[in-house]
Symmetry: D2
Subunit: 365 residues, 4 copies
């Protein structure tokens, strides 16, 4: 479960009946309807040459917690049926786990009882559930003016140069790119690279950057539930994540304090930081600057090239190759999922923030 006040549980399997999310703790009165969810789900939809040929319609169905298009305050269940699922391939390889996928660990963890078809619960398909739940979180955040944008800044050796802005144009620039990269030149190069890699039967890694605008100062509940810690944990719910860094991140390790520190200055009568090496978070609390972090994605473990593995039935070495449909660069389709989990974490901390703020005048008198 993600969150303690705005709580989200996801469920489902790649080749089972459905994937989906249960949201508990969402306040009443928010617009929640299928159209809203569809708009978000479209942003992760595959179909182009760059992503999996699997056809996913992703029509979410709201099963509870919504009445006449508004959240009621009750648990919201969202289901997205799996329509296009061909499992025959997975039967063939069920004893030969795909390297760096969860096949082997899942088999051990779940005593061989797991639904191995298409990776079961470990499939990227479950990010559809995160995205649907994230759509509700974004509605909530919008009431406070908080907005979240995730986009690709690196694929393989192609790096983009992005200046995030809180504007509809920035959103459009992300969505217009087939690789979710708002830098048009880098987008084109990334597209070419992904195509090439795909033709080689290989895959490639990438980096997704996220920026959150307009979060109030003080989101986070240290010492245990830091805002950066909660974001970091949540992004690991997206398959393929291997790292996360805030602000200057790992570059900070090579810096001096005198260059890394963000001076405090007054701007329009408000205290702000002049630079944002901290990525908008100090001491586990949002500091009023945009929250900025990057997430590293591994190359899709599924590739068409031959790979060495073990046949678990015979305990003999085996070679697996040439299977299935897959995205050559999971970072691309994962960008909306990162945006979604970020929204989930922020919605949770915003509600927690209000639990104190609501009493403020009564306590301070």
């Amino acid at each position: 479960m993600i969150g303690k006040a705005f709580k989200v549980s996801i469920f489902g399997e790649s080749h089972g009946t459905c994937v989906g999310a249960l949201i508990e703790g969402c306040p009443p009165g928010l617009r929640v309807d299928e159209e809203l969810l569809c708009a978000e789900l479209r942003r992760r939809r595959p179909g182009s040459a760059l992503t999996s040929p699997r056809r996913e319609e992703d029509e979410p169905v709201i099963m509870s917690g919504v009445f006449r298009g508004r959240s009621t305050g009750a648990p919201i269940l969202i289901i997205i049926y799996n329509r296009d699922r061909d499992s025959s391939f997975y039967e063939a390889i069920k004893d030969t786990p795909r390297p760096s996928h969860a096949d082997y660990v899942a088999r051990v963890k779940y005593w061989g009882m797991n639904d191995y078809r298409g990776g079961g619960i470990f499939s990227g398909r479950l990010t559809a559930a995160l995205v649907a739940a994230g759509a509700v979180a974004k509605e909530l955040l919008g009431k406070h003016g908080v907005r979240v944008y995730s986009y690709v800044v690196k694929v393989g050796d192609v790096e983009a140069s992005v200046k995030p802005r809180d504007s509809p144009e920035f959103r459009e620039a992300i969505d217009a790119s087939p690789v979710k990269c708002p830098d048009p030149r880098a987008s084109e190069l990334m597209e070419g690279l992904v195509r090439r890699v795909s033709e080689e039967g290989d895959s490639v890694g990438g980096v997704v950057e996220t920026v959150v605008f307009n979060a109030p100062v003080g989101l986070g509940s240290p010492p245990a539930d830091t805002l950066d810690g909660d974001i970091a944990k949540a992004v690991f719910a997206v398959p393929g994540v291997k790292g996360v860094e805030f602000g200057a991140g790992f570059r900070m390790a090579g810096m001096r304090g005198s260059e890394a520190n963000d001076p405090l200055v007054i701007h329009d009568g408000e205290v702000v930081t002049e630079t944002n090496n901290s990525g908008g978070i100090n001491g586990g609390l949002s500091n009023g600057a945009p929250i900025v972090f990057r997430v590293a994605f591994r190359p899709t473990p599924t590739i068409r090239k031959p790979q060495r593995t073990v046949n678990l039935a015979t305990m003999q070495p085996a070679v697996i190759e040439g299977w299935g449909r897959h995205d050559p660069c999971i970072a691309i389709r994962a960008a909306p999922a990162v945006e979604a989990v970020t929204a989930l974490v922020l919605a949770d901390h915003l509600l927690r923030w209000y639990s104190w703020e609501g009493m403020r005048s009564r306590i301070l008198g």
Copy 2:
């Protein structure tokens, strides 16, 4: 709170009465005594030129949950009193928040009621509490043969070359280095760098690497409580963390699947991975290989050089300089804290793992 089965809450302030930890859910029968805790606490003790001149004796006192040197199964309260605390300086600067420290956000979040002395709850002093609790977690892990090592692999531009091994010698190599770096050549260079930076009144960042040996396959509770996600969240409880990456981490973003994937092979009759780019975790579950991750630390925000800030009482620009005692490189003293929180997360997941494993034969029949 860190953990759901082995649960740890920390408390205390830098210049208050104490810091400490409350451990709930620890099984009975483990050796827990002050000597054990002291041994761990000594590993984070400052004193040399490389770390803060503040003298910390760090004598932990076990207040509950232990009877005749063994855990009882009841909540374990550990307290470490603050002995050496000179708060006069902090009174002087209480209205001028230190850049990139939590001073400003804490003041806003806590409506000006926070204990600002020495950073209050945001002080690195609280890592003593984590280390003490970690000592108990390590006792538990030891019963399953699981061992955790954290060490410094980078300070500023000095990078070490470390081949972690599960051995007393490796532990000694870490502890023998004044910068917690088991590569002697790098250790010397790091030591020189930290000294130079300190003399300049500046600070420098670093990277701490952690390796966990002998964790069983299948630790982790996806979809929500992935092992990597829980580790990532926990490390952000250590002040100054700006990033975390597993295995090849951010380098993965530049790799192809065919080079990043870890082939499965049979070794001594067991399925193992030939390489470990995944860092011992797939699909949020431990895969049997050593768990490896790196944590990026910012340079200590406290420096002696002049810095621009704002006087919050007058809302005028201000300059702050020359204050206080501090470690020029927090990564060094943080290494034992990273080791500790890693142990906490693993102890938690080990207990959760047993909650199923214990029933396995009854269920499978």
Copy 3:
């Protein structure tokens, strides 16, 4: 959410699309199929003159977490569609809250956004979700030999005399009674009373007793998560509960210690209690004796007789009468729900118990 290791969330509304449950943390390998769930759901099905004329087919659909008839270890989503829902009546009375129902509080709590039809989330209909989840919990408990029986021991002024036994015959005696009372004489009297009350357009209260056989000594996690406390909380998830008591319960208040205490004796080489005034729990832990508790149910608040209320649109006094379908005695249909939530709590504590027990030999050496 009920539980920390075996976790159950329920959702849905009386007149919405469905009700259902999400189970997280269920170990792999358990038989879980629709037939199993149906068998339990049939036990709460209305239809006779004694319960609501609403026709509920209660066909559960397993949406995730089950593969080839066995639990996989992944989240299990169970949905029960609402088929027979006539909401017209509720539109008519939407501004005139039914006394002692949740209509008024729900309207205030949820800012008027709640789905008021048929009581929305407050409907007894949600107990179907609890019963379905309970069926899975009972499968788990069965692997350890733990069995749970709930039955009616009082309706109005009719009290039954029941000697619970851990046997198929006892189960049959419960199920054979239209009022879920295994005492045939009392069952008949209760049936007559309920019929009379129903004809009068009134309703009547009752008491459900539960007994758990074969729980191991030591279930419970004091100080916070006592077994009796967790059971007590869980039963309040069943609508209409107004009290719960263990063992001699409220009668204890009038007793002396010398008569209330349960002497410890040796029986077949085991330590057991001679009497069971404690109801199988001491200090929040199961003590090896059968766990026995009783739950008081209010009369169904929905009655056909005229009642005074307020028209919230006009803020004028109003009279409401004669509405809808209802069970004249909710205790009867609630018995399987109490059995289900008891099973949920015990399954949770059994898994938690194994998290220590599994390590026992490793710790004690």
Copy 4:
């Protein structure tokens, strides 16, 4: 842990160093000092003939989370040292568990590692920790005008007649009674009964009633975290509780709906219930009427009369008698503890309530 927003963990043993509480999530700015805590602790202090001769000074020490007499928003650690602890008796009886005490279950649960002296964590002594934490919760509740009163309404066969009022006089009437019963006539009879029972070397049960005034409509988070369910669970953290009932409680089981239902009427322009058989809660939510519930306490299991038990070292029948200091009627000293845990639960739900209420105008626009 009690609570999800206002979170309280208790720790300590009867004959260990201390008992105490850790409070997490308390907002800043509340008055919290030792004097405040002492005032509450005095209300549970023994000393008279009616309670244990053990001398407890109960001087609480605030170790963290408070700065200049105000809560800071950081975790608050409160410790109450054990001063007067004579454990010699407990060594003598360590292998002969006291009937209906937790001695036997604790020994099994904790593999013989538990601190058995004075009952260890199962001692009534831990209610001091609850009372201290409750004092902080009451400060918070007071800011919203919510007040909680607990008092004894029954001891053995003596029943009081109490009309609770929200006034200082009512508080004084409770505190003035040596048996915490505001009905002077019943108080005297109870006092006599307890004295008699004590002289006989026996003990007696009792009932504590609690009333909460001025809680806003809508506290509670159904379906899982009902307000009555959370209160019910929390009271079982107080040793000796065997039952809890709200409003008319178990009497409801014998009532008709037409007499049990609380009509809604308009009073001073507000919707209120004319009667309060529901005890202020419907559907798991506070309904605006006073919240009223009763808690049944068993007779103190510790008595001086001879009792049969088992010697666990020899596995032979044994007789135990004449031990130790004890309260002949735990209900009396437990009354302040019930008041405290009620305050903890309400403070938690009040903060959770504000997490939505604070956003209300932003959502509804």
